[in-house]
Amino acid sequence: MGYVNSDQEDDAPLAVKILIAGGFGVGKTTMVGAVSEVAPLRTEEYLTHASVGVDDLEDLSGKSTTTVALDFGRISIGSGLVLYLFGTPGQERFWFMWNDLVNGALGAVVVVDTRRLEVSFASIDFFEGRGIPFVVGVNCFHGVRDRTPEEIRAALDLDPQVPLLLFDARERRQGRDVLLALIDQLMAARPHSTPHPVP
């Protein structure tokens, strides 16, 4: 980028992001808040989308605007790197079109609630369809582990290589472990990575 100054560049951290997705009320913001070094911040965006089923010829633009809001947090990695965690907005059909949110993510965590697995189906479909690496975090915050990981995996129709972890979204270390599972998955999937011995 032409306006990046190399002297100044050293002062600003390099940023990466991970998306925290899943349906309404599964614990996305809870997870962001538990692992973030700051209380979750909220931001919003206007998304313009083509109206569906509009046959009014006077509506030349054929577009309408929707506001979506999301919560996000940050984790400073040393002084030179910052990991941002973006909890995706609840209205999936809109954020799926928010390219700036999706583009450039290292990957995603899809949070699921065993009592309402279906609310996270759309997120799983989306990341599978876009080829974005993801892991599934089963939020057991209500203390009920009434299904085995195998049963959940089958119900979600997950590919075998997608990691699935049970965790409590309120617990910093457990949320951290879900993020680490994603990073391990990304490192393992690097096509030119050199194999290294397992310690």
């Binding site: 980028m1 100044q8 605007t65």
Partner: protein, 131 residues
């Protein structure tokens, strides 16, 4: 700002869009396509900013951004602090880049398809392990 649980999109579509775009002088899109949610902005020290007739008259929001960016901040953080939509914040940030008052650092992995660097993944992994 409304939380997304407060209502669904059909209700939001009629929200007035006037006020935020007044701040931008009516501009609704940034001319810069290269600002992302996690592009990190930092304020250029005042002494290093070239003074000239081309400098834009600053809105209060511009000044707030410069104050915030004394510590480097991502675009999303700036928008959140200003309580403005990201697209509006990007227009204001773009003004300050154009006037030489802000520097931008693009994210490590800005565009889909380039893939994250192994060194960055390792750094993230090591950092998370220390949490």
């Amino acid at each position: 700002m409304k939380h997304w649980t407060d209502g669904f999109a059909e209700d939001d579509a009629d929200e007035p869009l006037v006020r935020p775009y007044t701040i931008t002088g009516g501009r609704t899109t940034s001319e810069r396509g290269d600002l992302t949610l996690i592009t990190v902005m930092s304020a250029v020290p005042e002494a290093a900013v070239e003074q000239g007739p081309g400098r834009r008259k600053l809105q209060p929001e511009h000044r707030t951004i410069l104050t915030l960016c004394a510590r480097p901040q991502a675009v999303a953080e700036i928008a959140s602090a200003l309580d403005l939509p990201v697209s509006v914040a990007k227009i204001l940030i773009g003004d300050l880049i154009d006037s030489g008052q802000l520097w931008a650092r693009q994210p490590a992995y800005a565009w889909a398809g380039t893939g994250p660097d192994m060194a960055i993944l390792k750094a993230v992994r090591d950092g998370l392990r220390e949490l």
